[in-house]
């Protein structure tokens, strides 16, 4: 097995999809000759020509809406948003058309579009370049929302996204683009809709996705010293969500911490926490806790490490999971407990 990076795996997935299916078109700002600012589309224009991989005007609603039209003509567009916050101009096209066209037409039109969004921070990026925007899409029925955390998943999930009959918002954790791993491509990993236990453990479950997965794994490693054996579940596909795998893990361990990089309020982690306690209430020894980014606009590079949930913040949460079966005093702080 060779060593490769997530960026290269994504590039290979695009190339292989284009080679296999001439209906696949790849485009966006700088996606053509430059190969994208992260080089994810590197070499595609040279190999497949500039009618299959090309630059567009700087207009994100335009890019997504153009993809809608292309899909209506029978093509399979894969578009690149340059950074998370720069997909916001396309929000109406995504929420009112991409997500709804199949539904509006009783299935007569489908919109097999992939919208690739490099997201989240940890790269020292300046403002507007590090937003975690997955919750906006996950809250929008009709979209599938996928986020790989490993090199193999990057390849496999992107291939699946392109082949999928539904629109997929494909969230790429940009801080993982250039971390390398052993992987042989083409890889086939678990399909859409399946979460994966990345590390088995008995004492508590860390549920994480995208950029938070390596943090959770590192925390699980560090937790050994404290005597905790933590299981780590990688969500992989936020929509559709894999309740079975997550609930099974939490029922086994009896404790759960959800880890996400995004600001916490009304995020995906809230959904996961709500689902887990709905489904595993009687198995839980403690409330489901959440570790997330702060509820602030993504900060400047010199302050991002304070914002980002790191190993310590995860371990702090694990420590609050009532190992001695004493309730955390803060749950009793206000009002009277029943």
């Amino acid at each position: 097995m060779a060593t490769t990076t997530m960026a290269k795996a994504l590039n290979a997935a695009l190339a292989d999809a284009m080679a296999d299916d001439e209906r696949v078109l790849v485009f966006g700002e700088d996606a053509g000759q430059l190969g994208g600012v992260f080089r994810i589309t590197d070499g595609l224009q040279a190999r497949f020509g500039d009618t299959r991989c090309f630059d567009t005007p700087l207009a994100e609603a335009g890019i997504v809406g153009f993809a809608v039209g292309l899909a209506m003509s029978g093509l399979r567009p894969v578009v690149e948003m340059q950074f998370d916050a720069f997909a916001y101009p396309a929000f109406e096209q995504i929420a009112s058309h991409v997500a709804k066209l199949r539904n509006r037409t009783r299935g007569a039109l489908s919109v097999p579009i992939v919208i690739r969004v490099p997201y989240a921070g940890g790269i020292g990026g300046v403002e507007h370049h590090c937003d975690s925007s997955e919750a906006y899409y996950a809250h929008t029925p009709g979209l599938k929302v996928i986020t790989p955390a490993t090199v193999g998943d990057a390849y496999s999930l992107l291939r699946e996204a392109i082949a999928d009959p539904d629109p997929v918002v494909f969230m790429e954790p940009k801080k993982l683009y250039f971390s390398s791993a052993e992987a042989s491509l083409p890889a086939r990993t678990e399909p859409f809709g399946r979460a994966v236990v990345r590390r088995p453990g008995r004492d508590a479950t860390l549920v994480a996705y995208g950029p938070a997965v390596p943090v959770a794994l590192e925390a699980a490693e560090a937790a050994r010293e404290e005597g905790w054996d933590l299981e780590v579940v990688d969500v992989r596909t936020i929509v559709p969500f894999d309740d079975a795998t997550v609930a099974a893990s939490v029922r086994r361990t009896g404790r759960c911490v959800v880890v996400q990089e995004a600001q916490g309020f009304a995020g995906v982690g809230a959904e996961i926490a709500a689902r887990v306690q709905e489904r595993c209430f009687h198995a839980l020894h403690a409330p489901v806790l959440r570790v997330s980014g702060l509820d602030i606009p993504y900060p400047a590079p010199m302050l991002e490490h304070t914002h980002l949930p790191g190993v310590d913040r995860v371990l702090d949460a694990v420590a609050r999971l009532q190992w001695d079966d004493q309730p955390d005093p803060r749950w009793l702080a206000e009002g009277s407990a029943a």
């Binding site: 207009a59 809406g65 039209g69 539904n103 509006r104 009783r106 007569a108 009959p165 559709p240």
Partner: protein
């Protein structure tokens, strides 16, 4: 890739270019006046140098569809008053545009309509009951867009402009000579998506005709609050798109201008922008109270330019239309309306569980769960009804 700096390439260093430099906007600006082939009463104007009159058969067909279209519109308005439609945006007064627009197309072309285009869609041959599905409220889009090559009627303003660009480019990319016609209102040209859509079409030379029906209002917002431009057609040059204004209540001119615009696009010259000056005679929808923002005199002035009467007068004067034919068309329109009325008379049956069918190609586990919940709720409700 250009290697010479444009600013340098363009001028010689020592002499100021004369005022006779070829105008780079040449061929892109619209004429200062809307194209018009008939005067407001239906009398023909002198022949237009650029726009020959369409053949007589086309004009007869235009007339026929306009009469049916208007009758349909009146019927739909009546159905709304009876509570059969949730809402209806009438296009009465805009018949020349609604019908002229689709008549300029082939069946293999695509139409991108707005909520206003019900008349255009029935004129394109889509079953009026299917057209009215959205407004009746039993589902969103009632026809099969792929089969009818007609996008769902678009409510989020101007968003269809971008879809049209993508569709047209996609068709060309696959070697088909499809043209896309995107309808849009005057107000919606202020939206960013109009700009992005026509620009994409221009940059990618996509065969799209953008057809602005400037009916002078966006609900209550008057044109003066929408733009300070000499005309909406003057937006074309800023995208490198040729454009034209047309008297939108002159059916012959509308058909002539659109025919040329469609030919331009089909020939591979990229998009074309047409602005039709017209007027909606009815309120924005039945829910609107137009007396709040426009006076009767204004409406009356436009009544004098009625596009149906105008075409009828002309065709009669030219001898293309005679009394019996006109009567036959009127009869056909009546029958059309009667049939629609009858078929809209029953409440459509909608299965609540179908809500889960088309969110994704196949429902997610979460939707399966929710479907079971709804199924149980419905069963419980039936049981209760049974008990009562």
């Amino acid at each position: 890739m250009t290697t010479t700096p444009q600013a340098v390439r363009r001028a010689s260093p020592r002499t100021r270019p004369a005022a006779t430099t070829p105008d780079p906007a040449h061929g892109l600006l619209p004429a200062g006046e809307p194209v018009r082939l008939l005067d407001p009463t239906g009398t023909p104007l002198p022949a237009h140098p650029d726009y020959p009159e369409p053949p007589a058969e086309a004009l007869s067909e235009l007339y026929r569809r306009m009469v049916i279209g208007r009758r349909f519109d009146i019927q739909a308005t009546a159905l709304t008053k009876q509570g059969r439609l949730a809402v209806y945006p009438s296009s009465r007064g805009q018949e020349a545009c609604q019908v002229g627009g689709v008549l300029a197309l082939r069946d293999t072309d695509w139409v991108f309509p707005t909520y206003r285009e019900s008349m255009a869609l029935v004129s394109r041959g889509i079953d009026p009951v299917e057209v009215l599905t959205l407004l009746r409220g039993d589902w969103h889009c009632g026809y099969d867009p792929a089969a009818r090559r007609t996008a769902p009627q678009c409510t989020p303003l101007a968003t269809q402009c971008v879809h049209a660009a993508g569709l047209a480019y996609g068709e060309a990319h696959q070697g088909r000579d499809t043209v896309a016609l995107a309808f849009i209102g005057d107000g919606a040209t202020s939206e960013g998506d109009f700009h992005e859509g026509i620009n994409f079409a221009a940059v990618f030379k996509a065969p799209v005709v953008y057809f602005v029906q400037n009916n002078r209002y966006a609900i209550s917002v008057p044109l003066s609050r929408q733009t300070a431009a000499p005309s909406l057609a003057h937006k074309g040059v800023g995208y490198g798109v040729p454009s034209e204004q047309v008297d939108g209540n002159d059916p012959i001119a509308v058909l002539a201008v659109l025919t040329r615009a469609v030919a331009h696009a089909r020939a591979g010259n990229g998009p074309f922008l047409v602005e039709a000056h017209t007027y909606r005679m009815e309120p924005h929808t039945n829910a609107d109270d137009a007396t709040r923002y426009r006076d009767g005199a204004e409406v009356d002035a436009w009544r004098d330019r009625d596009p149906v009467t105008r075409l009828e007068t002309y065709l009669r004067d030219r001898g293309v239309l005679d009394g019996p034919t006109a009567a036959a068309v009127a009869e056909e329109a009546e029958a059309y309306a009667a049939d629609l009325r009858a078929r809209m008379n029953t409440q459509p049956a909608v299965d609540p569980l179908s809500l889960f069918d088309h969110v994704y190609a196949s429902p997610t586990p979460q939707l399966v769960e929710q479907r079971e919940q709804v199924r149980a709720e419905l069963a419980a409700a039936r049981d209760e009804d049974g008990d009562a």
